[in-house]
Amino acid sequence: MMWQIFRDNFGLFMQGLGYTVGVSLLSLFFCLIIGTIFALLEINPKRWVRVIGKIYVEFFRNVPLLVITMFFYVVVPRLGVPLSGFAAGAIGLTIYTSAFIAETVRAGIQSVDPGQMEAARSNGLTYVQTMRFIILPQAIKIIVPPLGNQFINLVKNSSVLAFVAGFDLMYQGNLIASNTFETTTTYAIVGVLYLIITMPMSYAMTYLDHRWSGSVKEEE
């Protein structure tokens, strides 16, 4: 039964899977850029710059993803910017997730010993050089496992595209469920397809977290 539904709708399932992976990677790319920018704003020596970073992060972390996405799907096109469902979903996902990634990056940077910054600065490096060559390379090890978890969240949250006709896995799953009337089986297949992406990622991040936090302890 399960196999037959999967085989009959193989094309739709695969298209959905492709859109889900695609939108997640696309979002991740922009989230990393935006998230790092706002993380750097949040730790900037100037107070008013920090406030700007803080407002962005706190605002988007405390508003539902669905509200942000629907805003881009319903309101923005009426303001004269035509957006497809997929585009609205991708923008919503990116803005929402970038706030979480900013927090992850900030925590990573701040976990680097402040003595590193002082030492680099007193050796004549500028603030930007120190960030680029001294602080960020050390922070990356601490940032990668939680970043991986954010990517898993991104894959799961991309199901919000089903609200805006974004052709992702959840959207196609609903379509197949309502065509075949086999809701239970179809959703089970959709679940397995999500798990194929998220489970290996999740175990890999747990492994990296153990390994890298282990190596940090050894160095001490």
Partner: protein, 218 residues
Amino acid sequence: MGDFAGAYQWMNIRFLLEGLQVTLILSAVSIVFSFLIGAVFGLLRYMKIPGLSVIVGLIIDIIRNLPLLLILFFTYFGLPNIGIRLNALPAAIVAMTIFESMMLAEIFRGGIQAVDPGQMEAARSNGLSYGQAMYHIILPQAIKKMIPAIVSQLISLVKDTSLATIIVLPELMYHGQVLYGQNSNYMIPVFVALTVMYFVVCYALSLLSKYLDHRLAA
């Protein structure tokens, strides 16, 4: 599309507040159930009981790695197919509880594991039973470590209740959609109101987290 005065007449605000009430009820009930089930599952996974803990761990990992929206569809549209028919609110509560309890279970396990194992050994060699050591020594220390993670999970839970709009649960997001569906001039004001209402609830929770963190650290 920006008729703020019309959109914010009392009738509409009251309509949104009724939605907020459903959102809060759904959140509160799901939180209570998730806490209880999450604590049990987290402990079972931590205790490494042969066989059982592996199965519990697998269930936790599977559910944590699925989208909540899928679980919601499953409880509302999938279960009737195998003879279990739930109304929108119970279906939403069941879905939220399944998902959030497993997220909390992992937080509980992580918190307990973060307590120095020497604490358990010391308590046991002082004559406390495993249950006593867990209840009086380990859990109080673990709770302190868990609070920030628990609260941010609760914030996620409140935000995620908005997904229940897709099964026509009359919560805040759904009532918002009904309002701007009636009059497209209400669109922007309604989105502003939705944002403010969700933000106030979630931000209050995050302030609570900071306060507790501060109090307990001292």
